[in-house]
């Protein structure tokens, strides 16, 4: 979104999609990350590559407060240091074995990850509740065109009243893909939330059509 993203926050996932004791893949401008939540509920983000053999750590698993690689079981603390190498049970792993980690903040049901040292907290969208995330094969411009509104500097699109009530928090990905986090203004019942999810699908279809037709580049 911005040419210089050092120190800025990226909305990578919704809190509800990362239960305690799980790891998922996510993306920030620096590349692919493993986003995980320990059993005690603390989120963490690391480079998505085990220093041992390069396996994606997002394929791994979380036990207690550690993330383990699926390949040979090397496990890492939230600070990134290697805690255990199962093939060498008597060895205390040297401090040099570590994965790069990134700052993580959770606000309003959205998980944000920063590169470098962020100078401010991630944006807060008061009065919004998170619904779901979906990936669109469309760039920011096509999504703005489909929504009939521009994204704010924080990446929030509030569509024109005529196009619906859902708001979209955008995160540009590689290859002109965009991750859409669907936010609703205020609490809504089951029927309204299901309708909003369907509205988001329609908006994505419209944005992808515009992208294909090359109307929005």
């Amino acid at each position: 979104m911005h040419p210089d993203t050092t120190g800025s926050w990226t909305p990578v996932a919704l809190s509800a999609d990362l239960p305690a004791g799980t790891v998922i893949p996510a993306r920030i401008p620096a590349g692919s990350i493993a986003l995980w939540r320990s059993e005690s509920g603390r989120p963490a983000a690391s480079a998505n590559r085990c220093p041992h053999r390069g396996m994606s750590l997002s394929h791994g698993f979380v036990r207690g407060e550690a993330l383990s690689c699926i390949y040979h079981g090397w496990s890492y603390a939230q600070a990134g240091n290697c805690l255990r190498i199962p093939a060498h049970p008597g060895l205390t792993p040297p401090q040099a074995i570590r994965v790069k980690t990134y700052p993580v903040e959770e606000t309003g049901g959205v998980i944000w990850v920063a590169m470098g040292e962020p100078s401010a907290n991630p944006p807060k969208f008061e009065g919004f509740v998170a619904l779901r995330s979906l990936m669109a094969e469309a760039g920011i411009a096509a999504i703005e065109a489909a929504a009939g509104a521009k994204a704010s500097p924080a990446g929030l699109v509030e569509p024109a009243e005529s196009t619906g009530t859902i708001c979209l928090l955008l995160s540009a990905q590689e290859d002109r893909q965009t991750l859409l986090h669907v936010l609703l203004k205020g609490e809504a019942g089951t029927a309204a939330r299901i309708a909003a999810s369907r509205a988001a699908e329609s908006l994505r279809r419209k944005a992808e059509d515009l992208q294909k037709k090359g109307i929005a580049q």
Binding site: A13, D17, S68, P89, R132, M135, T190, I194, S197, E201
Partner: protein, 219 residues
């Protein structure tokens, strides 16, 4: 019950998984699907002229459609895996059982193309697979909003087992599962079921068992 089985077939795995989850003992008869193409040989064509596996034989009952086999196993041993008499639930089970055929035709064919070099338009197959995954994702999002973790109810049914294998193996056909958070949670819920079994490419949740420890000096 005798299952004509191939270890790498997701459709055969549906039957093995359902049998494991419902406690049915199967007699496995391995089929040399690749490279022998035994499913197209005279012995198996006599059982199933369509030349596909799985085939389930139980007395004079011969079943060749995996969804029908799942229903048979459930009705036989664990009817709670079938739909209840609620109209929406009964319809959702049928909806996703039918939908599972589209997963086979898209993600399944993409996987055969990538793994066994079967002919096909890989771009079109992957696009159909992605369209199907998006439908599944939307369906699961809506179920979660209704307070249900599985496709047709808040408990697993034959519909979940019919859809799970080809979805879990989508990456074999070059289709990423990264963009689908609801599918990821559902896949975890299926793999967390008691008596869940693996197949090559679909692993259990390691974190459900305590960390193994090697005693020093014995290695």
């Amino acid at each position: 019950m005798k299952l004509y089985d191939y270890i790498l077939s997701p459709s055969c795995y549906k039957v093995r998984l359902m049998a494991a989850l419902t406690g049915v003992k199967l007699e496995l008869r391995p089929v040399d699907f690749h490279p022998g193409a035994e499913h197209r040989g005279p012995e198996l064509l006599a059982l199933n002229p369509a030349g596909s596996i799985p085939i389930l034989e139980d007395g004079d009952l011969l079943l060749t459609e995996s969804s029908a086999i799942l229903v048979y196993l459930a009705a036989h041993a664990a009817p709670e895996w079938l739909a209840s008499n609620k109209p929406e639930e009964a319809a959702r089970v049928q909806q996703w059982l039918s939908f599972s055929g589209r997963l086979t035709a898209s993600l399944g064919c993409a996987r055969l193309h990538e793994m066994l070099l079967r002919p096909g338009d890989i771009g079109a197959l992957q696009a159909q697979g992605i369209a199907a995954l998006r439908e599944l994702e939307a369906g699961l999002v809506e179920q979660a909003e209704r307070g249900m973790r599985f496709l047709a109810a808040d408990r697993p049914t034959v519909a979940d087992i019919a859809c799970f294998p080809y979805v879990a193996l989508a990456p074999d056909g070059g289709v990423s599962l990264d963009p689908y958070p609801a599918i990821r949670l559902w896949s975890r819920a299926v793999r967390a079921l008691d008596a869940f079994i693996e197949m090559p490419g679909i692993h259990r949740l390691h974190e459900l068992k305590p960390e193994p420890h090697i005693e020093l000096g014995k290695a």
